[in-house]
């Protein structure tokens, strides 16, 4: 039995690569690395639902946005210190994930997706229209210094720490009995049910974990920016997260991570070359689905298999 242990060498190598990128990028480049890290966490949280739980959410950005607003509202409306606000974000996201999740897990497949879409759009609309409380479309700004007023590089290092911790925790979850159960439900909820466990409860558990982690990412994103806007809960971020998971690779723990790095880089650098950057991303997405449906991770594995099966001269 190959107990999926964490290979600390890989973790260390990854962290070193990120630290090197932060150092080389300087103050101006560090926010890009931070964004990549936060998107990696955001996409990985969706990946828990999609690759493991078999649930495709069209409203995952709601929890990212709620994480951001949890922080922004706690500080600006309730006068809490930023540290406490950072706890409020994931908490708010987790709570709403519990509420929305309770409803959504009653449905499956495309109906589930459509209900998450509705929940996500309701969240967005409330954030967008409730001026007196959420500031509407002009959001909440100036409630804290962006990145706590830290040097961008130091903030990126802090985020690296939090994101690595969250991903390790997620790794722990998916390789623990709970992770097996979540995958079982993703594969066949009827079988789980006939075996004696309520699949909806399992789905709800996964939904809340994913929502909370998305909330962590959203809170830190708001901290990076020093603001919160309804966009953070909008359809744009939801589609981003779906695209990242697919680009990175479904059915792989690293899918969210790879996808975030690839997508954020594409989105950052393609517009420098062509105005029609969406066209380029669209074509890449199409090619990935057609030629490597399991994304970057799947492609890697395929190459790996080919290397192993071919005798070396």
């Amino acid at each position: 039995m190959s107990a999926a242990r964490i290979d600390w060498r890989i973790v260390a190598a990854g962290c070193l690569a990120v630290l090197a990128a932060i150092a080389l990028g300087g103050r101006g480049g560090a926010p890009l690395v931070t964004e990549m890290l936060l998107m990696a966490l955001f996409a990985s949280s969706l990946n828990l639902l999609m690759s493991y739980g078999g649930m495709v959410s069209f409203g995952h950005a709601a929890f990212f946005g709620l994480g951001a607003y949890g922080l922004a509202l706690a500080v600006s409306r309730f006068g809490l210190p930023v540290a406490a606000g950072l706890a409020c974000g994931p908490l708010l996201a987790g709570l709403l994930a519990l509420v929305f999740g309770t409803l959504c897990v009653r449905l499956s497949h495309i109906y589930f997706a459509m209900l998450t879409l509705a929940c996500g759009q309701i969240t967005f609309t409330v954030l967008f229209q409730w001026y007196d409380f959420t500031g509407g479309d002009t959001g909440i700004t100036g409630f804290m210094a962006p990145a706590f007023g830290l040097d961008e590089r130091w903030f990126a290092v802090v985020v690296l720490g939090v994101v690595v911790a969250c991903l390790l925790a997620l790794w722990r979850v998916v390789n623990a009995p709970l992770g097996i159960t979540i995958r079982s439900v993703g594969e066949d909820p009827e079988r789980v049910s006939a075996s004696g466990l309520n699949p909806r409860r399992v789905q709800l558990t996964a939904f809340v974990i994913a929502g909370t982690l998305a909330g962590v990412a959203g809170s830190l994103f708001a901290a990076l920016q020093g603001n919160a806007f309804p966009d953070y809960a909008g359809l744009g971020f939801t589609l981003d997260s779906l695209i990242m998971v697919v680009l990175g690779g479904l059915r792989s723990f690293g899918g969210g991570l790879y996808g975030a790095v690839i997508y954020v880089l594409l989105r950052n650098y393609v517009p420098l070359l062509v105005t029609e950057w969406e066209l380029v991303i669209g074509v890449i997405l199409l090619l990935v689905v057609l030629w490597s449906p399991e994304g970057f991770a799947g492609g890697l594995q395929r190459i790996g298999r080919r290397l192993r099966s071919e005798p070396r001269p």
């Binding site: 190598a13 101006g28 926010p31 890009l32 967008f128 962006p146 723990f253 880089l265 594995q301």
Partner: protein, 418 residues
């Protein structure tokens, strides 16, 4: 305990991580430092996303202006370098790009934002990094009032001023007795409607003002709002809407016979008139505008700009283009007055100079809210036009002193926001 598909072969994972790391390193290391000689302007524009249709003219005009300045030897003997970025009309993206532009590309000034959210997000970066930032499209008053910061200035009439100008215009029509206000359902729309109503109540206490209507921003089907407005039997509808949503309102309104029964007063920019062309109603539409080129042709500077713009792009500049060009020229004057691009010296110059621009010969930015005394042009839309698309006639230039909030008002609003 892990299914093969989930199990990452370690070498592969390492290879992947190395690749990812390399990619990140390569990515963020891109853009080597350049000589400090040129004056760099960072243009963060919503080239894609919701602002796409608006910023087209802005980008063209700024590129034209920079080329013209460089052709004359730049500013203070230094060439100007324009660095253009696509904010995708997303506040987070705008803020990130602004930060990158300041820290990596060493830009001296930021500009280009269109949506209020992106403008406020970039303004926060400008404040933090002490980099001057001016807006020529986005005109939420929040940036001048509640979220004011010393490195920002606004070269437009902001939302409060435009709404006040619209109220002046409506009040001036003695035969209009009943008005229905309407605005897009977001901050700008609500602020505009509130300001319009407050102003109008003062100017014309006799006027009946119906409950306002708030269609969602960019609403594609305005018919329910049109019928609801017409049911009030208004003489005039004030609509704080623009762009695509405004085109919907006008075309659909036309189908309802709206313009035979009421007048519309709205933000009427050149691009909207170009888009509507022969579909513009012959009467019944009045507008307030920011920089209608046809009204500025008497000013030789404006005429020269319009001709240069036409020569280069084959079209007439819209308001966004004209005011962005004007904003750029104001910046140029300020840099020359400051003798450089030092942020604090530049800001001191911004609030002390008087510039002969496209929109008048005494443009200046006042010191307590960094708001330009930009005029608002009001008039009636006519299809009788030499340009091949409608323009406005009977245009009145409403000067800023009639519309700018007083220092006391600004301070009151700032205190209320605390």
């Amino acid at each position: 305990m892990v299914d093969k598909r989930f199990e990452l072969s370690r070498t592969l994972a390492r290879a992947a991580l190395a690749a990812v790391g390399l990619a990140m390193v390569a990515a963020v290391a891109a853009g080597p430092a350049r000589a400090a000689d040129p004056i760099r302007i960072g243009l963060v524009a919503g080239i894609s996303g919701a602002c796409g249709p608006l910023v087209d003219g802005e980008v063209k005009a700024v590129e034209l202006g920079v080329d013209q300045l460089n052709a004359k030897g730049g500013l203070l003997g230094r060439p100007i370098e324009l660095i253009k970025r696509d904010s995708k009309t997303k506040p987070d993206e705008g803020a990130k790009l602004a930060r990158e532009l300041v820290l990596n590309d060493k830009v001296d000034v930021l500009t280009g934002t269109c949506s209020s959210a992106v403008m406020l997000a970039v303004s926060a970066v400008s404040k933090e990094l002490k980099t001057p930032f001016y807006s020529t499209i986005g005109n939420s008053q929040k940036a001048n009032i509640e979220a004011f910061q010393p490195y920002f200035w606004q070269t437009q009439a902001h939302a409060l001023m435009e709404a006040a100008a619209a109220a002046e215009f409506v009040a001036g029509h003695a035969d209009w007795k009943r008005v229905v206000p309407m605005g897009f359902d977001y901050e700008w729309g609500h602020t505009s409607v509130d300001t319009f109503v407050a102003h109008l109540k003062q100017l014309r206490p006799d006027m009946e003002i119906a409950d306002p209507l708030f269609p969602k921003i960019g609403e594609s089907n305005m018919t329910s709002y049109i019928t609801a407005a017409l049911a009030q039997k208004p003489d005039v509808v004030y609509a704080a809407v623009f762009g695509g949503g405004l085109i919907n309102l006008i075309k659909q309104g036309k189908s309802f016979g709206f313009f035979q029964r009421a007048s519309l007063v709205t933000l009427m920019t050149v691009d909207t008139m170009q888009a509507l062309a022969k579909d513009m109603p012959a009467k019944g539409v009045s507008g307030y505008a920011r920089a209608p080129f046809f009204e500025l042709m008497g000013n030789p500077k404006a005429k020269a700009f319009v001709e240069a713009y036409r020569e280069r792009y084959g079209v007439y500049p819209d308001d966004w283009a004209t005011s962005s060009y004007d904003g750029l020229m104001y910046l140029a004057a300020a840099i020359e007055a400051a003798g450089g691009t030092d942020a604090d010296k530049l800001m001191a110059a911004v609030t002390s100079i008087t510039v002969h621009g496209l929109r008048g010969d005494a443009l200046k930015v006042r010191d307590f809210d960094h708001l330009m005394n930009a005029p608002v042009y009001v008039g009636d839309v006519t299809t009788d036009s030499p340009y091949g698309f409608p323009i406005m006639k009977n245009v009145v230039r409403i000067d800023a002193d009639k519309t700018m909030p007083s220092k006391e008002q600004v301070e009151k609003l700032r205190a209320a926001a605390q």
